[in-house]
């Protein structure tokens, strides 16, 4: 399962980092608290959040996350999008809320296992 697969299956918008759409996904984590993500997310996870500022990319890069998915149609701030393009870690956007989106992601990622 790669990032492109969840983009297609869930109709996500690719806001930035399209050069990373072939990154492998092995799981996910949903949280808006940065330390919570830092402590509990893992490599190759998709991260579901409503945070849009540049620090989400610092975390995604340090943790080697597969992608970030913003909820409720949120878009990344310009400097976050820029770093996402540089690092090839996509920032995606969904119209859905975290609960619905996480449920769907959980299902498709587990089906692929």
């Amino acid at each position: 399962m790669i990032v492109q697969d969840i983009v297609e299956k869930l109709g996500l918008k690719v806001c930035s980092g399209a050069n990373g759409l072939n990154r492998e996904i092995e799981g996910g984590y949903t949280s808006d608290l940065l330390s919570d993500v830092m402590g509990n997310a893992d490599e190759n996870h998709v991260w579901v959040t409503l945070q849009t500022h540049k620090n989400i990319m610092a975390i995604a890069s340090l943790k080697e996350l597969a992608a970030i998915v913003l909820v409720k149609g949120y878009e990344p701030e310009a400097d976050a999008a820029e770093q996402s393009n540089e690092e090839g870690i996509p920032i995606l956007s969904s119209e859905e809320e975290a609960f619905e989106l996480t449920g769907k992601l959980y299902e498709i990622i587990n089906q692929a296992k």
Partner: protein, 137 residues
């Protein structure tokens, strides 16, 4: 090998850049990925604490054949009660900082969990020194 990185208080857009440099170095040295991960979590939290709570600081990194020793020292308000600061959920972060997702009070506990040794000394109105040691073996 010794390295030193400056950390700017209040500058959230740069938060994590020193930790990122250390991560690159550890990768180049082929350190065990599990130990790199632990070290990255603890250094990031220490770096963010200087950004969020202090005025300015440095990350001093000393890499040996068997361990990494990092001292993060800052000029800032210091920590009056270290035991209290270590408690999960305790935070003095401002509402604005919390809105960004910082200030969950999980930083110091994250450092504790992701380091082999952690030592904090702090002086109110002077600053804080945090030492993190992780062994490669």
């Amino acid at each position: 090998m010794e390295f030193k990185f400056a950390i700017e208080g209040g500058n959230f857009s740069k938060a994590g850049s020193a930790s990122s440099e250390v991560k690159k170095i550890l990768k180049q040295l082929n350190v065990n990925p599990k130990i790199i991960k632990r070290t990255v979590v603890s250094l990031y939290e220490a770096e963010v604490n200087v950004v969020a709570h202090a005025f300015e600081g440095n990350m001093n990194v000393d890499i040996d054949t068997d361990k990494i020793v990092v001292k993060i020292e800052d000029k800032g308000p210091g920590i009056p009660d270290i035991d209290q600061a270590m408690q999960e959920g305790y935070s003095t972060a401002s509402p604005q900082v919390r809105e960004m997702g910082f200030g969950a009070g999980m930083g110091l506990p994250n450092i504790k969990r992701n380091s082999d040794q952690m030592n904090i000394t702090s002086k109110v109105d002077v600053g804080t020194e945090l030492e993190i040691i992780n062994y490669f073996g």
